[in-house]
C-alpha cells in the first residue's frame, strides 16, 4: 500500500497527535519490560512531563525510575538529574549501587518547587528533573510541560493520588498503588496508549 509521501511526511511530524497510533516519540526504556510494553513509544518520553500519583511517598515510585536514571546519567556527555524538594534525603550509596552516576545529581531544597522545576526543565542542563510538588495546579503543570519541550528534558512530578480526579496537561500520568509484594501501575493518561493496569514486582533492595 502506497501512502502519499506528503501525507507520510506530515504524519512523521512530532507535534501531530494521532489517537491510538504508534506515535513515534523518542523514549528511554524504563528498565521494566512489562512497563515498557504499556507505555507509548515503549518507555519514558525523552522530553515531556510525567505525573506520578501515589497514595503516599515511598510506595515504590523511585524504584520505578532508578533504572532509567542510571541509564541516562551514564551517557557521555551526561546531562544532570535534578531532585527538587524531595521528601527525604536521596541515599547516595543505594543510588550508586544501582548504577546512578552521583556527580550528575543535583539536589535542590526549596519551598518553591514549581519555580525550581521550571528552571531545571527549561534550562537544557538536565536530562531529567524530579519534583515533589503536591500543590501543583493544572496551569503550573502546563508551564512545566512547555518547559520540558524547551529544554528537551524528562520531567517527573510526584503528587498524591487524590489529584487523579483533576485534569492534567501532563503527557503521561500514572498511579502507583502497592499490591501485595509488588505494585500496581495504572496508566491514567497516555498519548496513544490505553488506560490499563500493570501489576509488577519492583525494587528488591
Amino acid at each position: 500500500m502506497s501512502v502519499n509521501p506528503r501525507l507520510a511526511r506530515l504524519l512523521e511530524h512530532p507535534a501531530l497527535w494521532r489517537g491510538r497510533s504508534a506515535a513515534r516519540v523518542p523514549t528511554w526504556s524504563t528498565g521494566y519490560p512489562m512497563l515498557d510494553a504499556g507505555l507509548p513509544g515503549g518507555g519514558w518520553p525523552r522530553a515531556g512531563l510525567v505525573e506520578i500519583l501515589t497514595p503516599q511517598p515511598g510506595v515504590g515510585e523511585l524504584h520505578l525510575l532508578v533504572p532509567a536514571l542510571a541509564r541516562l546519567t551514564g551517557l557521555t556527555p551526561a546531562r544532570w538529574v535534578a531532585w527538587i524538594a524531595p521528601p527525604f534525603e536521596p541515599f547516595a550509596p543505594a543510588l550508586a549501587a544501582r548504577g546512578v552516576v552521583l556527580d550528575r545529581q543535583l539536589v535542590v531544597r526549596t519551598h518553591l518547587p514549581l519555580w525550581a522545576m521550571e528552571q531545571a526543565l527549561g534550562s537544557g542542563a538536565c536530562e531529567a528533573a524530579l519534583a515533589w510538588a503536591q500543590e501543583a495546579r493544572p496551569r503550573d503543570l502546563r508551564r512545566l510541560q512547555l518547559a520540558t519541550e524547551r529544554g528537551r528534558t524528562l520531567g517527573f512530578v510526584f503528587r498524591n493520588l487524590a489529584a487523579a480526579r483533576e485534569a492534567s496537561p501532563a503527557e503521561l500520568r500514572l498511579s502507583i498503588v502497592p499490591q501485595g509484594e509488588g505494585v500496581e501501575v495504572e496508566l491514567i493518561k497516555s498519548r496513544g496508549g490505553s488506560r490499563e493496569r500493570i501489576r509488577m514486582e519492583i525494587g528488591g533492595g
Binding site: G60, E61, H63, D103, L106, S123, G124
Partner: protein, 465 residues
Amino acid sequence: MAPVVPTSGPQPVARRPLPAAAAAAAGDLWLAAHLSAPAPESLLERLAAAAGEITPRVSLEPPDGVLLEVRGSLALFGGVEAVCKKLRTAGRRVGVQVRLALAPTPLAALAGARAPYRRGRSVFRVMHRAELVGALAPLPLAVLRLPEDVIGRLAKTGVTEIGQVLRLPRAGLARRFGPETLAALDRLVGAKADPRRHVTPRERYRARREPSYELTNQQAITGFLTPMLAELEVFLRGRQGSIMALECRLHHREGAVTRCRLRFAQPTFAAAAIGFLLGERLATTMLAAPVAACELVSSRLVSRQSASAALWQPDEHGGNLAHEAPALIERLRARLGEENVYGLCLVPEHRPEKAWQRVAALRGLATAANASGPQPVARGPLPVTARRPLWLLSTPLSLPAGDIWPHYEGPLEKLAGPERIETGWWDGRDVERDYYVMRSRAAVQLWVYRERHPPHAWFLHGVFG
C-alpha cells in the same frame, strides 16, 4: 630684561646626545590625562583602573594626572583618536573631565595636558622626539611644576616659556637653580630616562558608593548597583581576570550591614550576568532599613579562562552541557541560597548517615572525596548483599515500641533483618544498631533500626521508596 641667549660655547639643554638608557625608551609614546581640579588618590586610582583596558602601563601623577604609555595600543585600537576617545569615555565613567596630551616623554605629555588650549588644536600631540622641543617651546614655564622659587627667579630673568629655559647654558642652569632643575629638563626632552612605576592591579575589587538619597526598595538598589557592576567589569577586563565570588554590602544609617554573598559556579566577569544574579538575591533579601551606601567586595581575581565556542548546536549531541549547567546552578543558588543546592558523593563508611556527603554542585567526585572534614577511616565497599533504601531520613525518627516490632502509622511487619551495623568507635560517635526491613500498614517498606544499648529504642532511618 632680555632673556639670556647663549651664543656659543656651553651646550644648551635641548642639544645633548641621547644616553643609551633614554634611547631605549625612545619609542615610548605617553598619553597624559589632566584633571581640571586636584582629586583624591582614590579617584585617580579608579581612573587608572578604567584606563587599564587601554594599556597595562598606567601610572598615577597625583594630585591631578594619570599617565599611560600607549605606543603599543595605537595599532590595537586604531590610532590616536580612538585611544583618546577611549580614555575620555573612561574618564566620564569615573565622573571626571580630562584634558589629554601625547608626547614621547612623560613630563612633556603632562606639560602639554596642563597647558591651556591653543587655538585650533584641542590636543597637544607630539608623535616624534624631533618635534618635541619645538612643540614645548611656546608653553608657559608654570606647567612644568618646578619649585616656586625656581619659577620666580627664572621669571626675574625674563624666562617665562619652556623654550627660553631650554636655551639656557647647562652649567649655569645647574649652578644657579640646582641639579634637580637640570635633571627635570633633561627628562622633559628625553635626554634622561624617566622610569615610571606602573599601577599594579589590585588583587580584589572593592568599591563603596553613597547615593545622594537613601534607597528604599530593591529596584532602586539594583539601579544604583548597575554602574558599579559596569565598573567592576571594566576593572576585571583590565586585568584579564574573573571572580568566583562577590559580596554586596548594603550599609544602613544605623544597625547591622545587610550582606548578599554571591558565589559563582564558574569564573565570571560579565556585569550583566552578575547583575542578574544579584537581582535574584536581592529580591529575596529582607531590608531592615533604607540603604545609605552600597559596597562591592570581590574575591581574589582568577585569570580569565577564555571560553571556546561549542562545536555542536544546542540541540545536537548534548552540545549545550558546558554552559547551561553552571547557569542553572547559579540561578538556583542565587534564589534559594547556596546551602539548598548541592550534589551527592560517597564516603567509604558503614554508618549510613556518614556514607554520603553533600558537596557543592559542579565539584568533581574526586575532590569531594578528599574534602576536608571527617576523614573516612573505614575502607572497602559496602556489603553487596545488604539492602539499602533509596531514601534516608536526615535525622532518624523515634518510633514507639509495640509488642515485638515498633509502630509507624500502625503496627509494622518484619520482612528482613536484623543486619548489625557496629562501627565508629574511633571518633566517639560509635553506633551499635540492628537494622530491619519492615512494611507499614500502607505497604511502604521502611528501614528501621534498634539501638543495641539500653533502652533499645527504635528509629526509622530510611524508606525504600
